[in-house]
Symmetry: C2
Subunit: 590 residues, 2 copies
């Protein structure tokens, strides 16, 4: 007895010593969440609709963790007939490719009443978010914030006194089922457009409402029709009351801003205040000061704002639309200098957004985003270059988006499982094209608009360095070329160049290899190109796609597969559909 | 060489002789169908909405076969994120219980882009239909007709010169997703009721439109506002033009009438014409003459109509609502005596339906339905009696329907697979109650409205004879008791008795064992009971439930399992979800 007690004591002492000797990183935690996804009633823009919430909340609960932590989400699907998945946007999922939350790619959709465990490590501090990645479920409201703070003992390279988190989105009154039927119709019915055969009761599809943290005002502007003056814009429930940022004078605040819009490109500004951009997609950038920022779907930023203006006034924070002629009023939040009342309306109107089509303004913002001094540099050369031409096309009369004339049609069996088990016929064989014909004129509509659908994938050598040139072009209509924000799963990439017109070989020598920013999402401007470089060091299958929900639905994406033979044991639930389920079940059936 | 040729010749000759000797039944065919289920735009009541169609059609294509044929439907799910199944209503599925098309019961829902083959034999001539049986997909428009003619060489015991098929339904403008959220809310929001927090844009939920063959007029009556007189009711597309029955004078027509309404109980009549009822749910009944028929969701009838009226006029066929105060105009079709123009409006108005709450009228119709002379009689006694009390209840504040105080919660793993493989914990253990307390007063609201949810099932001895007494009761509100049409899968049953108030032991002696009608659906009237008898001769797992879609969604059903150990090889696709997939996959995983 005495001996064993002594042993126990020694063990306890030694374990304390070991703990004390371990570096701070050992303080990392596993953070557990139990979520249920289901439809709920909500009035995000004062109009009651059903939307997809998590645990009855919209937007879903914010995850807050520290770099190095493990996130463990038990996700139960309580939708009645639909599958669901959740993608953790900006998280690399290194070693856990089955937790990337992409239906048809990384896992089988979670069946109604079933649970899937997303367990993954958050490596790097930053502003992230999560969202549905099956059909158009993101546009049904399935999203929320994921904020990763610096690990204990680590520090961000900038100081602030407080912070606010702003998750931006756009909200359509038409159900996603309606939207999907319209997008899959011939002729195309674009979301938010007047319906061709609109009846008396359905009317025209209303324009979207811009939301800040899930709140906005439909078809009215709080600024033009202040709450006190008009019933039209009086928030009818707390669901749609404007967000208030309560600040103290002469402090510096970090605003975390992420956009999970279905469609809209956005611009954000605060009346009278400048912003210092310090973070983009979870990476520090060399600080620079602006009056407004552009933010495209899939991007995130942190900006520092100093409350150095007249403290007797409040100020508008305004979010407007870029790149499409806006049909909607800006979303507004109130920067409330305490001790003013938050309901005291700002003395000056909301800041004017730049003209929706002032692309020079947008480009100059994007071009200013550069890696913070001391950030890791990209490899100085690439092993492979893939040029991706973005075109709008027709397949059997249906409008699609294509990449090198291939419109992505996702297969029912997720790639990760079918590639890991080397299943034949689970997706289209052969590699998609690496380039497009030299004769193609990106400044004009496609001479032959016909395209093809395929589920084929780019197989990339593990640990190779890849350059991707995203080449924009004219859409089907003359003089139309749209903005596309491209998002890469499983990796970050360096943005090594931008340009107007067609990319040429000579541009390679001009690539910025000195201080290109690391991102997970980057935009191509109308008629322009964007060059990125990344190292394919994460075994798995990864989507790379336009983050505009209807564009992805219409085929605007590609699949990158790398080192799938090195992927660890895929959880059974991720394989329990299609040909992987068939293969594994058949071997056993009595 | 010579010997083998001779052998071949002999073989050929003998096979010809064998063919010639086979009975006519050998002429039965396999009828192949290739279907795709997906959302489409349609204007069933002149208001464009999305609904679930098959091969772009609404209602789905009519299947026409002969008794003894095999139906082979390759069903591809082209919905984007939802599973789907199709139930073949009234088909016994003897030997093919996995083809019954009930999610959570007979099979795993078919995933998007996947195909399931429904292959089953249609045994008996009659008027049937098919419909979705997952969530509330039937109410989304997923249904169509299935007509089985007498086998070659067989004859129906009545004559007619022509026939028409009328599939009746009700159509809500609110999406099924909205409806399901409302039904699952606390407080309950009933479909078609004004919304509690209805906003300016969503307004009140409109009442349903009654449809005949998928066509109706919303919020107007063609008769009150004739097509020529008013824009309000002018059909705006062929989707909503009234059905025209083109007849010749002095002929006899068979009208096949089936109801797949989500909610509404219906009454059908034809101006000036009598109807002779000859078939109910695929069984011949002793012919009787009526001026109108009641038809509840899940039922089908054939009636004979002789065109013996003034041939210079056309006549209205009118379908109205029973059992609930109607908020909607009747659905109308035109009986067009040729050579009159079909657009010539009938001289007299549509026939007046009986008062919605004239239950005596309804009962007298139901009581007149008896088996045709010579029909098979039921066993003269039963091995088991199960009494099922129908009550409306509360669970954690949510409104539910319960049977013997159990509200059915379907499990994610279908019973057929989990029972066949004897999986533990796939559904709740234990048998649900066989009766309810003698003290329960069926004429008053439940003294304790709290109920429980369960997925437990009644296990029934194979080939045993079972009596089920469906006992109606007062709902939650005082003086409310509703009509419930109960539908049994996998069997037909004899309706051996009806009564008012509480069923008592003495009623057994009064059961009609002489000529009770065989049915698959039967109604219980407010505050009444209905007794049925069936032989549990079909190995499988079978739903028995109220055919009102929202009631089933709220738990109004039970599960019968019989001889599951005798079930043949279940197709893998029917098992590829939940615990059956898990069990079969785990055994094999490397």
């Amino acid at each position: 007895m005495a001996t064993s007690s002594l042993l126990l004591l020694l063990l306890l002492i030694s374990s304390c010593i070991i703990s004390a000797l371990l570096p701070a990183a050992s303080a990392s935690k596993t953070r557990h969440f139990k979520w249920e996804v289901g439809y709920i009633y909500a009035s995000p823009d004062c109009n009651e609709k059903i939307l997809m919430g998590i645990n009855g909340q919209f937007p879903g609960p914010t995850i807050r963790a520290k770099a190095g932590d493990t996130i463990h989400v038990e996700l139960k699907n309580t939708l009645h007939t639909e599958g669901v998945v959740i993608h953790w946007h900006g998280i690399r999922q290194f070693g856990t490719p089955w937790a990337d939350g992409t239906a048809s790619i990384s896992q089988c959709a979670i069946d109604p009443e079933e649970t899937f465990v997303y367990r993954f490590r958050v490596e790097k501090a930053g502003t992230y978010f999560y969202h549905g990645h099956y059909g158009m479920q993101r546009a049904a409201g399935l999203y929320g914030s994921l904020i990763v703070d610096a690990a204990d003992g680590e520090e961000e390279p900038f100081r602030y006194d407080g912070e606010f988190n702003l998750l931006l989105s756009d909200w359509y009154h038409q159900s996603i089922y309606d939207q999907m039927v319209g997008l899959s119709s011939n002729p195309l019915r674009w979301i938010g457009e007047p319906q061709v055969n609109a009846s008396a009761t359905t009317g025209r599809n209303p324009p979207p409402t811009l939301l800040i943290n899930g709140r906005g005002q439909y078809n009215c502007s709080l600024a033009a029709h202040p709450v006190e003056g008009s019933n039209a814009c009086r928030p009818t429930s707390k669901d749609c009351a404007p967000v208030v940022l309560r600040v103290l004078p002469n402090k510096t605040y970090r605003l975390r801003i992420a956009s999970t819009t279905s469609l809209s490109s956005l611009n954000l500004a605060i009346g009278n205040h400048k912003m210092v951009v310090v973070e983009a997609d979870g990476n520090h950038v060399e600080p620079f000061t602006v009056g407004d920022i552009d933010i495209y779907s899939g991007e995130s930023y942190s900006v520092l704002v100093t409350t150095d203006q007249n403290p007797s006034s409040n100020y508008w924070l305004s979010v407007g639309v870029r790149g499409r002629k806006p049909k909607t009023s800006p979303a507004l939040a109130i920067v409330n200098y305490r001790p003013n009342s938050p309901s005291k309306l700002p003395e000056s109107g909301p800041p004017m957004a730049p003209e929706w089509n002032d692309y020079n303004h947008s480009k100059s913002f994007s071009y200013r985003i550069l890696a913070r001094r001391g950030a890791p540099k990209p490899p100085q050369s690439a092993d492979r270059r893939i040029v991706l031409l973005n075109t709008q096309n027709k397949i059997d009369g249906y409008t699609k988006w294509s990449i090198n004339n291939v419109s992505l049609a996702l297969p029912p069996t997720p790639y990760l499982g079918s590639m890991r088990y080397r299943l034949k016929n689970a997706f289209d064989a052969g590699m998609p094209p690496e380039n497009f014909p030299p004769s193609y004129d990106v400044m004009r509509p496609p001479p032959n608009p016909n395209s093809t659908q395929s589920s084929n994938a780019y197989v990339i050598g593990l640990n190779s360095t890849v350059d991707v040139i995203l080449q924009n072009a004219n859409a089907l209509a003359v003089n139309v070329s749209e903005i596309h924000p491209w998002h890469l799963h499983g990796h970050e990439f360096w943005v090594v160049g931008y340009g107007d017109g067609r990319f040429g070989e000579k541009e390679v020598a001009r690539f910025n290899l000195k201080n290109p920013p690391l991102r997970n999402t980057v935009v191509i401007f109308p008629y322009g190109w964007t060059a990125i470089r990344f190292v394919a060091d994460n075994p798995g299958v990864w989507a790379f796609h336009c983050h505009i929900e209807p564009h992805l639905h219409m085929g605007m994406g590609v699949i990158f597969a790398e080192g799938v033979e090195h992927v660890g044991k895929i959880p059974r639930e991720a394989l329990a559909c299609g040909m992987t389920a068939k293969m594994l079940m058949d071997k056993h059936r009595p």
